[in-house]
């Protein structure tokens, strides 16, 4: 299961957060949206540090795609297609679906590399499905990964990405730095 943590911020005279159930960006009067007393797990705190200090992340160059086994290819296609069908509109179902792990890859870098090769990810438009597919299929995500959904405030444009230990595993995604994290998901 994926557990959510809201990360509200005050900015431009308003408070902002992303609703973990609907995926909608919520804007309210300043200081209205505040974090509950529940503390943020250390894994998320660490990942937030890397969001604020992107140059402290480990840099890595593009790995040539290792060939997928038939099992990996078929399983990934099935999972990916299901997430695409659900789309952004069935947000909660997507989160629930991604929360039940089916480990195909050892780590999120492998998962992201395989997903990046799919035609649907030639542009950045399906970032949520890519991130959720990674969360579901990567063994290392269970222990170390944090999935963020954020917004480029105050424009309202949103994006999803993963930080796992000191890596942002999608080497093709160079725009994630523009988005302020407003909700985080980790494996329970």
């Amino acid at each position: 299961m994926l557990k959510s943590f809201k990360l509200p911020v005050n900015l431009f005279g308003f408070s902002w957060v992303i609703c973990p159930l609907t995926g909608n960006l919520v804007k309210a009067e300043e200081n209205v949206l505040t974090r509950r007393n529940e503390s943020i797990p250390e894994k998320i705190e660490r990942a937030l540090f890397y969001c604020n200090e992107p140059f402290d992340l480990r840099s890595f160059s593009e790995n040539s795609s290792e060939s997928l086994t038939e099992f990996q290819r078929n399983s990934l296609n099935k999972i990916h297609n299901r997430l695409l069908c659900l789309g952004n509109s069935k947000f909660l179902m997507s989160i629930l679906y991604a929360g039940y792990s089916k480990h195909i890859f050892d780590n999120s870098v492998q998962a992201m590399t395989a997903l990046s090769a799919l035609p649907e990810h030639s542009t950045q438009g399906r970032c949520l499905q890519k991130a959720l597919a990674t969360a579901k299929t990567s063994k290392s995500f269970k222990n170390d990964g944090v999935l963020f959904i954020g917004a480029h405030l105050p424009t309202g444009i949103m994006h999803a990405w993963i930080i796992e230990n000191d890596i942002q595993p999608d080497f093709l995604d160079r725009s994630w730095v523009n988005y302020r994290p407003l909700v985080a998901y980790i494996s329970k």
Partner: protein
């Protein structure tokens, strides 16, 4: 019948396709009637291109086509074709030290002392600065430093690059917002989308003049040189200087201050060298090749990471602050043209629609706004 249209001067000229005459200036030919007949649709179409070049330009004023500085064109069957200079197909063996020697040669020929470089925190301007430094030239640095979240990586690069530089002016980003100071845009003979960024350029040139510079370098052209695909032994069209040079800003903003605004990456033989080195390479949107090639002179943050800040938030902020000015411009433009799409209210509606960040809405709005700015400047200066 082919006609050669040649502009050997350092400023743009204007070609009349009907008479075949080339003019230095057309302001004295402009009156209210020709503004009313000017084609807004053509200007919006022109605004889809990075710069105005004759081969892609549709006349806004009847029969008038702007000819960029130092360019030659063939005019035939109502179309323009660039006269392309031959470039050497010899494969250059070149390392970073050769490029540094090239900068050294420029310095000996043109005396690059007391020049200013725009410090944006991006890769291209950083390459320009570091090449100068490694040739023994310490430029002044001018730019905008933002506290916005999305520009934290650029801000970090700016702090690294400016270290050790004696003359640095980094202004708060609200001194250079898009859509700022629109009512003061200098009068100009043809509408141009670049006028929307007048406020930004004005801040840059004033800061540079304050530092005693008359030569201001930017990082423009790098996107084409380092990102475009380069076929074997071909010189891509977008590598030619006139494809990437914002000559409008140079002529109407920098020259009146006695300055020149130059894109050194567009100057020969730099594009030829890069074309040769990148021959056969695919599109490289993250500029991986450039980061590796210049790694000896760049900080780790630019070599190992390819982060890119988005200007959507800044555009939105600048636009919201400029709404009153936009309405004024629209009202004046409507008075002259009687074109409803230009009136203040409609222009405001377009401005608000463009905030949905649709590329098409934004270009349509920028086209209409820059058309309105052109008319406003002509009215303000009593040209019409």
């Amino acid at each position: 019948m082919k006609e050669l249209v040649s502009n050997s001067s350092r400023t743009s000229k204007f070609f009349n396709t009907k008479s075949g005459l080339l003019f230095d200036n057309i302001l004295d030919m402009i009156d209210a009637k020709c503004i009313r007949l000017a084609s807004l649709e053509s200007h919006i179409r022109n605004s889809y291109y990075y710069v105005q070049c004759p081969d892609t330009y549709t006349s806004v004023l009847e029969n008038i086509v702007p000819i960029p500085p130092r360019t030659n064109w063939e005019y035939s069957s109502k179309k323009f074709f660039p006269v392309l200079k031959n470039f050497s197909k010899k494969r250059r063996i070149c390392g970073i030290e050769n490029i540094i020697r090239l900068v050294d040669r420029y310095n000996k020929n043109f005396n690059l002392a007391n020049l200013t470089v725009e410090l944006s925190g991006g890769l291209d301007s950083s390459i320009v600065i570091q090449l100068l430094r490694h040739s023994g030239i310490e430029p002044n640095l001018v730019g905008f430093q933002s506290k916005r979240y999305e520009f934290r990586t650029e801000s970090c690069i700016q702090d690294i690059i400016k270290t050790g530089c004696k003359n640095v002016i980094l202004m708060a980003d609200d001194k250079g917002l898009p859509y700022s100071d629109l009512l003061s845009v200098p009068v100009h003979p043809l509408p141009n989308k670049s006028s929307i960024f007048y406020g930004r350029h004005k801040s840059i040139v004033e800061a540079s003049v304050h530092l005693g510079s008359s030569l201001i370098l930017n990082g423009m052209g790098g996107d084409f040189l380092f990102c475009s695909a380069v076929r074997h032994n071909q010189f891509p069209l977008e590598f030619y200087k006139w494809q990437s040079d914002d000559y409008w800003a140079n002529e109407y903003i920098y020259k009146p201050y006695g300055c020149e605004y130059i894109s050194p990456m567009a100057l020969k033989p730099f594009p030829e060298i890069i074309a040769s080195l990148r021959s056969g390479q695919d599109e490289d949107t993250r500029k991986i090749w450039a980061r590796k090639f210049f790694r000896e002179i760049l900080p780790r943050e630019l070599v190992e990471y390819a982060y890119k800040g988005s200007f959507d938030g800044v555009y939105e902020y600048g636009l919201k602050l400029a709404l009153d000015d936009i309405q004024k411009i629209g009202n004046v433009a409507f008075e002259v043209t009687k074109n409803n799409s230009l009136n203040g209210q409609n222009l405001l509606k377009l401005a608000v629609n463009s905030l949905n960040h649709s590329h098409e809405n934004t270009l349509d709005f920028m086209g209409k706004l820059s058309f309105g700015i052109w008319i406003y400047s002509l009215v303000r200066e009593n040209v019409i």
